[in-house]
């Protein structure tokens, strides 16, 4: 499943970069985030609880930032496992930030998500809508945080 989003934020690129590179800041924007542990500069672990239809998923995920080109480009690889073994999620994400004007930037990201196990099969229909919903929620949170200051 490939998710591609593009949206603008009223903030300069540098500000966005500092925000998204910091797990402590970006973490809370992720819907359902329960816990975040920063392991090192480029690695962090999260526990996210989401409801996919009637399925309650508790995903423990390790994310590694594999490419950094501040303040324009970053790549991450994430591997997550559900506590109840409903499935695993692997995600390769690319984020690009483009400053459109002094205080307006465009963020585009594309996430190639591979889901295994029951989540992938039984939840296929719901997964797409849920993923979209979560992604929308994330963007909303991110914008709110970045634009509030």
């Amino acid at each position: 499943m490939l998710i591609e989003e593009k949206f603008t934020v009223n903030a300069p690129a540098k500000k966005i970069w500092d925000f998204i590179i910091n797990p402590e800041l970006i973490g809370p924007c992720v819907p359902g985030l329960e816990k975040i542990d920063v392991l090192d500069e480029n690695t962090y672990e999260t526990v996210v609880k989401v409801k996919v239809g009637f399925i309650k998923v508790k995903m423990k995920t390790k994310t590694v930032i594999t490419e950094k080109d501040p303040p324009r480009h970053m790549k991450t690889v994430s591997d997550g496992k559900d506590a109840l073994k409903a499935g695993e999620v692997h995600q390769d994400m690319t984020v690009d930030i483009k400053e459109i004007s002094e205080n307006v930037s465009e963020i585009s990201y594309s996430a190639n998500i591979r889901i295994t196990g029951k989540l992938a099969t039984f939840g296929e229909k719901i997964m797409r809508s849920t993923t979209k919903k979560l992604s929308d929620q994330f963007i909303k949170n991110l914008k709110a945080k970045l634009e509030e200051q």
């Binding site: 239809g53 009637f54 399925i55 109840l84 073994k85 409903a86 029951k118 039984f122 939840g123 296929e124 229909k125 719901i126 797409r128 809508s129 849920t130």
Partner: protein
């Protein structure tokens, strides 16, 4: 399937009590035609199943000239399908049930269970919405009545609290000069719908539209009532042009989700075709 405990309460009252006690550790089973599949996949792991399938106090179909019809939640699809009362007063419901899933599903599955699972492609809700049905929900604090279209909240989710059950579907008497139609699109017969549409019209004596109802399945995470499209008809004489206009309005309201069977654009397009066809069919029943 994971192990669970099982209890078969003897009444609705007892059911509510059990639910209040176990909260989200309990799950209600009626016919279980969808639930068991979910449990077999270990996608849900309740501590206890509360079986209401056998509750005869929820298994009934009655009709009253003033109040209309009441269908108990554990009434099977098959009972609705063949009920003389249903066939007489709301033939569309019998027709809908006749093509719902398989005979085996209809013989054991219940109308309430179907609504509570809230599969967004489900057949039952759209015609009920078109018929202005309401649902009775019973919980520890008594009952509440909701319009059918307000019952579902999301994919496989409803307004029911952990200690509530859906007890009854109520359908008001059909107004004179009313036509109702429902049909669905499938590639394989007997299969779940890809999309479906229900349309109801009530005409004034002068032939103008007194009321319209449009509801679809498979076009959003929940059964979708589309008031904006209904409004197109209000007070007007229903023509093919008007139907086309309403269909376009209806399309705007849909948020179809693509899946392995069809894209979102295609689903929307076919749902619009079905609204058009059902509108014509409903109209033809009155004229």
């Amino acid at each position: 399937m994971r192990d669970f405990d099982y209890i078969a309460p003897k009444s609705v009252e007892e059911t509510i009590k059990v639910l209040s006690e176990y909260k989200d550790e309990a799950k209600i089973i009626a016919g279980g035609q969808s639930l068991l599949n979910i449990l077999k996949q270990d996608l849900m792991a309740p501590e206890i199943l509360v079986d209401i399938k056998h509750l005869s106090e929820l298994d009934y179909i009655t009709y009253d000239e003033k109040e209309g019809m009441r269908i108990g939640a554990t009434t099977t699809h098959h009972a609705v399908e063949v009920s003389p009362l249903v066939i007489e007063h709301y033939p569309i419901l019998s027709e809908m049930e006749h093509t719902l899933a398989f005979p085996q599903t209809r013989n054991w599955g219940t109308i309430g269970g179907n609504l509570c699972i809230q599969d967004p492609t489900g057949d039952v809700a759209p015609p009920l919405i078109a018929l202005r049905a309401t649902v009775k929900i019973v919980g520890p604090n008594g009952e509440r009545i909701l319009p059918m279209e307000d019952f579902s909240t999301d994919y496989y989710e409803t307004v029911l609290e952990e200690d509530e059950i859906l007890a009854e579907v109520r359908i008001p008497p059909m107004a004179p000069r009313t036509g109702v139609a429902y049909s669905k699109f499938r590639i394989v017969e007997g299969d779940a719908p890809i999309v479906g549409a229900a349309v109801a019209f009530t005409l004034n004596e002068d032939g103008t539209c007194a009321d319209a109802r449009i509801a679809t399945n498979g076009t959003a995470p929940i059964p979708l009532r589309i008031p904006d499209a209904e409004a197109v008809f209000k007070g007007k004489k229903i023509t093919d042009e008007l139907i086309q206009e309403a269909v376009e309005v209806a399309g705007e309201a849909m948020e179809c989700i693509p899946d392995i069977v069809a894209s979102d654009e295609y689903k929307k397009r076919v749902a619009k075709v079905y609204i058009k066809r059902m509108a014509r069919k409903a109209l033809s029943q009155i004229q």
